[in-house]
């Protein structure tokens, strides 16, 4: 019988987050981090944006996306620390990375819940 | 030191982790799990030379094929020198062994309906060669090795080099070996010992064989008092790549490849091997037996109809008409090898080839169960001579031979070991002797003026000169004298490497000593055989002489270390000697 282990589940979230980051993040980052602030694209109207973001479907999608991407980052960064910097305190590093992702996720819930 | 001298005691000790050795190990583990088996090998088992075999393994499975036909092809291929009882047993058990390998996971090539596919091979009247593309030996060896990992009762000593068998009162009790990593010399005892040490192609300069094929097991047995059999029969494979000697498998011809001389002419038709046809015809032309094809090459050279290359005369193998599709699915390794080592693409270009030393028909004399005359000592695989190959081995008979006789020797050794007693105390002294010999006589020699590689080169040149495709009495006698001289020179060659760990100069020295023994046996047996049969062709005795020479030759070692050749009758059951007919 297969033993229950967390690695596969973390890895699944890592992969999901990787897909999200590859597919959704480029356009979002491009629009809100570069194009709109720099005026390449007209600032969307606040009311419109609030309506889009506040829609329950958007909220759920964003929450899922944020959480997965945070786990993705935490997981990848953890291994970068192991391999790239040869960090030896492995458990500590893991707690730190996933801990940060956890706090980020709570924050995301908080922010998004306020819009709902 | 004596407490550490005997490293471990086992029931059965197998020397060699190639196809034969691993098959024997599994056979023992399966017959009697109570027994403690050990496999000693000078290389990791999956590096053994079985890994290089390309073409395939013969076993009757096709609906239109019969055991009798396999038997007959093998007997006539052997020029009637094979023992017919052994060949019968071989043909009967080969299909089962190959199926067993299938069950262990060997990726045999298949027909569309999922059944095993078979291809044609030289000297065979029916298609009966099982294959795994053109990496058959590779897949067989890895399958056997991986399957052997399943058995905890099999202990392995990897990279451990056996230097001597421990024999007392006509019984074998184990071996002395050098651990290559540590340089430690220790005895490993076994109630029975099976030699599965493979071939000895390195006795010759130009060979398909790997660096490790130095015939160690033959020499070990010979020195331990077991005779060698039919040593004069050395197989030349007709298609090796010039310079490297890398084999281009016979399967190329089975798939329809042609041999062309410099005029683009399929010259085999001039040598009583049948008439050319566009598609391959069994037992004809390019699918004739190896001895006859290699001999035809020599005649082409004499007629000036071969092409020149920096490495001597060559003919060409033409695969272009087979097309990329066939080459890539059935012969991918051949294409890879040609691209890599000759920088030519067989899809569009001709492959230069020449005959190359490939296989040793002779070897340690055994009966049909792999037993040698020394009690408890068994041999199987290329190092043994049962004999099913007689004067000429048919392509694709060797791989099934490893399986059939590896398993047989394993079972017989298991039975022997179950009844045998543990090693007597005297072998401890023998082991100490061997340690002394190695440390003082081999390692301790001052590096003199002689170099091991030079003596090896000289030996190889001597053997090529004296025991090539065509031989004469005077040439062989001269070669034997030259070898005796080389023996003397070897005693003066020092080992410059004083390091214990992975001392490959030491192993090279030991291997060279083994090869000199073998070379001597080849030439001595050859001198005695005043006839031409199979791979032994004498210009001074061009005909087969069944009246005098329908016999095996056994080479014993006299107490004064000289060889003595004695006859042994060939076992004939149902197939009286006849003419070897191909292409008619």
């Amino acid at each position: 019988m297969t033993k229950r282990r967390v690695e596969p589940l973390v890895w699944l979230m890592f992969s999901g987050g990787g897909v999200m980051a590859a597919v959704f993040l480029p356009i979002l980052a491009f629009l809100f981090a570069l194009a709109i602030p720099l005026g390449w694209v007209a600032r969307p109207d606040h009311v419109h944006l609030l309506a889009v973001v506040g829609h329950p479907v958007t909220l759920v999608v964003l929450l899922g996306m944020f959480v997965l991407m945070l786990v993705h980052s935490a997981h990848r960064f953890r291994y970068t620390l192991y391999d790239g910097l040869q960090v030896k305190r492995k458990t500590f590093t893991a707690v730190l990375c996933y801990g940060a992702a956890f706090i980020g996720s709570i924050a995301a819930v908080n922010v998004l819940a306020r819009l709902a | 030191m004596s407490d550490s001298l005997v490293r471990a005691a086992h029931d059965v000790l197998i020397v060699g982790g190639g196809g034969a050795g691993l098959r024997a190990a599994i056979a023992i583990a399966e017959t009697n799990p109570q027994l403690d088996v050990a496999v000693i090998s000078k290389v990791y088992p999956m590096r053994s030379h079985t890994v290089s075999a390309e073409g395939g393994a013969a076993g009757v499975i096709a609906a239109d094929d019969t055991l009798d036909e396999h038997i007959y092809d093998t007997i006539s291929g052997s020029d009637w020198l094979g023992d017919q009882d052994a060949i019968e047993a071989f043909a009967h058990e080969a299909p089962r062994e190959l199926l067993q390998l299938e069950h262990w996971g060997c990726p045999w090539s298949r027909q569309p309906d999922g059944h095993i596919a078979v291809r044609a091979f030289g000297g065979m009247k029916k298609m009966r060669t099982w294959f795994a593309a053109d990496k058959t030996g590779f897949h067989m060896l890895h399958t056997l090795f991986q399957t052997s990992l399943k058995y905890n009762e099999v202990t392995r000593y990897d990279e451990v080099f056996v230097t001597r068998l421990l024999v007392d009162d006509g019984r074998v009790h184990g071996a002395v070996a050098v651990g290559l990593m540590t340089g430690k010399i220790q005895a490993v005892t076994g109630k029975a010992v099976i030699l599965c040490t493979g071939g000895c192609g390195k006795v010759f300069p130009f060979t398909t064989n790997a660096n490790i094929n130095t015939g160690d097991g033959m020499s070990l047995a010979y020195r331990a008092g077991a005779p060698l059999k039919d040593m004069e029969f050395v197989q030349y494979h007709p298609t090796g790549l010039p310079f490297t000697g890398i084999l281009i498998t016979e399967a190329t011809r089975a798939e329809g490849g042609w041999l062309l001389n410099k005029d683009g002419y399929r010259y085999l038709q001039d040598y009583d091997l049948g008439k050319p046809s566009p598609t391959p015809e069994l037992r004809s032309m390019e699918l004739g037996p190896r001895d006859r094809l290699s001999q035809a090459f020599v005649h082409e050279v004499e007629k000036g109809r071969t092409s020149d290359s920096p490495w001597g005369p060559v003919v060409h193998l033409d695969l272009r008409h087979l097309g990329e599709q066939v080459i890539d699915t059935r012969l991918p390794f051949v294409r890879e090898l040609c691209l890599k080592y000759e920088r030519i693409d067989p899809v569009h270009e001709l492959i230069p080839v020449r005959p190359v030393v490939h296989y040793m028909m002779g070897g340690v004399h055994t009966d049909i169960d792999g037993a040698t005359p020394v009690a408890g000592l068994y041999a199987a695989g290329e190092t043994a001579c049962v004999s099913i190959n007689g004067a000429n081995r048919l392509g694709s008979n060797s791989l099934p031979e490893l399986l059939v006789f590896g398993a047989r020797a394993g079972r017989a050794a298991a039975e022997y070991a179950s009844a045998a007693r543990a090693a007597p105390a005297v072998i401890e002294a023998q082991a100490a002797d061997e340690v002394r010999r190695l440390e003082r006589d081999v390692m301790g020699r001052e590096p003199g003026t002689e170099r091991i590689s030079t003596i090896r080169d000289d030996m190889q040149a001597t053997m090529e000169e004296a025991a090539g495709i065509y031989r004469t009495g005077p040439a062989m006698a001269k070669g034997a004298d030259a070898l005796a001289e080389l023996q003397q020179r070897l005693l003066k060659a020092g080992v410059a490497d004083t390091s214990r760990s992975f001392n490959t100069e030491l192993t090279a020295a030991l291997e060279l000593a083994n090869m000199l023994d073998i070379g001597e046996c080849i030439l001595r047996s050859g001198l005695e055989r005043e006839e031409s049969r199979g791979a032994h062709q004498r210009l001074d005795f061009p005909d087969r002489d069944d009246r005098r020479f329908l016999i095996h030759h056994l080479v014993h070692r006299n107490p004064d270390e000289t060889p003595r050749v004695a006859p042994l009758p060939v076992t004939i059951t149902r197939w009286p000697p006849g003419e070897r007919i191909y292409g008619r």
Binding site: G18, V19, A21, A22, V23, F24, L25, P26, I27, L28, A29, F30, L31, F32, A33, L34, I36, P37, L38, G39, V41, A42, R43, P44, H46, V47, H48, L49, L50, V52, V53, G54, L62, F66, M69, L70, H72, S73, A74, H75, R76, F77, Y79, T80, D83, G84, L85, Q86, A100, G104, A107, A108, V111, L112, R114, L115 | G179, M181, T182, S501
Partner: protein, 129 residues
């Protein structure tokens, strides 16, 4: 097992600078920092949007400040590295089969880019409508 004194070569901290492919690998892995940064950035945006028009405008002005713009350019570069490498490795990481037949890697890669374009167009439309 043996008494041989084997030598274990130490692996330098800078091993990943020794070979181009190793360097690209570590850069790829470092993209994770920037993915995380964008998550934070977007969360801040969402929070600002939730707080009203003024907060929203303030946020965008902040995002246009030189420091943030430079950071975001760099981050964007890493993000694209992530996207490209992720797409390229997908066919290796999973054997995609349609009707039991394996799909060639090039097709898998191409279809991901198609997906990227469709998603991007949809988001663009949703935001700027």
């Amino acid at each position: 097992m043996t008494e041989v004194r084997t030598y274990r070569r130490p692996m330098s901290i800078w091993w990943w600078t020794k070979k181009r492919s190793y360097f690209v690998f570590v850069m790829r892995e470092l993209s994770s920092i920037f993915v995380a940064w964008f998550v934070v950035f977007l969360l801040l945006l969402v929070r600002a949007v939730g707080r009203g028009g003024a907060a929203y405008d303030d946020f965008l002005d902040w995002a246009a400040s030189p420091g943030i713009v430079v950071l975001n350019f760099i981050a964007m570069g890493f993000l694209l590295l992530h996207t490209v490498t992720w797409f390229n490795l997908t066919p290796q990481a999973m054997a995609v089969r349609v009707h039991g037949r394996p799909v060639p890697p090039a097709v898998v890669i191409a279809s991901q880019y198609v997906g990227l374009v469709v998603v991007s167009a949809f988001v663009y439309w949703l935001v700027t409508r």
